[in-house]
Amino acid sequence: MSTQALALRTETRRQRKRRERLEERDAAIPVELYGLKRGTVSLLTTCCVLFALFTLIPILWMIINSTKTQANIFQSFGFWFASPFDFFHTFANLFRDVDGDGTYFRWLANTVVYSAVAGFGSTVLAALGGYGFARFEFRGARLFFAVVIAGLLVPITLVAVPLYLVYAKVHLINSIWGMILPSMVAPVGLYLMRTYVDLSIPRQLLDAARIDGASEARIFYRVALPLMVPGLMTVLLLSIATTWNNYILPLILFSSNNLYPATVGMGLWLQHAGNSGDANLFPLLVTGGLMTIIPMVALFAVLQRYWRGGLLLGGLAN
């Protein structure tokens, strides 16, 4: 292992952040050189602040209103708190089956399971498939890859109805595999990994390992896989986020409330919220919505440094 890699591993989190910040600063051309009028930077910072407000306002609204009772959500001013502070009461209700539709945390747990399994599965598939397509020439490779590209063009929203028809025949309706399997075979991940392997794993490295007598399995596991980690993290994040957000497929697929993910469950609540006034579903919707956001934001914050948004480009630009 190179000394640089060792150094990377031993530096602390804070040191890393500091180094990244310094590198970013060094890479940028000093603003003074652009010959701008004074105040431009302040003006543009103000633009950023305005757009950040636009971004944060709905989320702020959600946080504030998750503390309110149903009456207050509608009657009090949307952007300020109103007593009584009802957050914990609502939160506790998320664990109960309030109006017979189902229990929110059961749905959220479903979402977590679907996303985790689909995310992990699609990452494994993308790792194997992407590596295979990028570094092996086998019969029909071009044809298979053409199929993958075709899969890329036809989004899951459209596949949902045809899938339903297939499922009706093979009895996969109301089965969690009906939800997980199609989420797992996301062609995007395979495509991204092929690009990533192409760019980041030199053929010579693999050839060198072969000359040293390593088996193909060992080369993949010990040589290629560690180099693929950042790309795989991006695929993992993308596919977890996609499954987490998926609405139409589970909506079509599941008729049993116990299997719903949070998105579909909340959609159902929203439909009923207007009719069944006593169930107080609106605070549950607001607080429940907030609960679906928090894990994703946390996940992105943790894995942010692996995020290779550029991957999406690298591929299609080549």
Binding site: I29, G78, V147, L158, M266, I293, V297, G310, A317
Partner: protein, 275 residues
């Protein structure tokens, strides 16, 4: 060798899986020949939905990309303070499920209680309704811009970062004004990225479903069952149980999408040839 076969099997399994549903799909529709397709192609409501989402995309995508490109440039050139923090904030909506964002915007736009309508009433527009038939499309455009600008901005930012530094330095030494550097040097260099984003967002716009489906609960009567093509597919196939007809619609929409994709790929290739 084992690994090799594994690589063979995985794509194969995928291909079989893929072909499976296509054959079933066609198998399901061959009973009536092309009658379903004829119904879809003649359906005014279906094409009305297609036109609606096209209008939506034609407005939403350029506006969003302009905002995204503006901020990507600002971040790339370091023209604003706290760029890192703003980048993180702008990306947050990507982590919000679309159902949830439609849900909270629904509350914000709610005709009777929503804070935005209250503000409009206070400013003097009485009985202003963000979710009325005439304003539904613009409101969904606002929601879509909220959801996707940050994501597009980060991708453009990554693309701009890969523009070689010496090109920009040379331009600065020549006393090129900044707006020229941005529009004449940087913009052409990230053109492939922009074309790709237009392409991805167009496919997304054609599939518009969740936002209208959720907002329907706040304002009854505006979102009809055929408001967007995917709503039409969903309502035909699942709610009314006319599976074959819905499947035919899905195929037609898939064709529209593939046609757009192929056109845009051809467009990109020709663009490269010129340069």
């Amino acid at each position: 060798m084992i690994v090799f076969t594994l690589f063979m099997v995985v794509p194969l399994a995928y291909a079989i899986y893929e072909s499976l549903y296509t054959t079933k799909l066609i198998g399901g529709t061959t009973f009536s020949g092309f009658a379903n397709y004829a119904t879809v192609l003649e359906s005014g409501a279906f094409w009305g939905g297609v036109i609606r989402v096209v209008v939506f995309g034609v407005i939403q995508i350029p506006v969003m990309l302009a905002i995204a490109f503006f901020f990507a440039t600002v971040f790339d050139l370091g023209l604003a303070r706290f760029g890192r923090i703003f980048r993180a904030i702008f990306f947050i909506p990507f982590a919000v499920p679309i159902v949830v964002s439609a849900l909270m915007w629904g509350f914000l736009f709610d005709p009777a209680y929503g804070p935005f309508n209250r503000v409009m009433n206070a400013v003097g527009f009485h009985n202003f309704n963000w979710l009325s038939a005439s304003l539904m499309v613009p409101s969904i455009i606002i929601i879509a811009i909220w959801e996707w600008t940050g994501y597009n901005c980060i991708i453009l930012y990554t693309a701009l970062k890969s523009v070689p530094r010496d090109v920009v330095e040379a331009a600065i030494l020549d006393d090129t004004p900044l707006w020229k550097i941005i529009l004449r040097i940087k913009l052409p260099l990230v053109r492939p990225a922009i074309v790709m984003l237009v392409f991805i967002n167009t496919i997304g716009a054609l599939q518009l479903f969740i936002e209208p489906n959720i907002l329907n609960n706040y304002q009854a009567g505006v979102i009809t069952t055929t408001w967007t093509p995917v709503l039409d597919i969903y309502n035909t196939a699942i709610s009314s149980g006319e599976y074959q007809l819905g499947a035919a619609m899905a195929v037609v929409l898939a064709f529209v999408i593939v046609a757009i994709s192929v056109t845009s790929l051809a467009f990109r290739k020709s663009g490269r040839g010129v340069r």
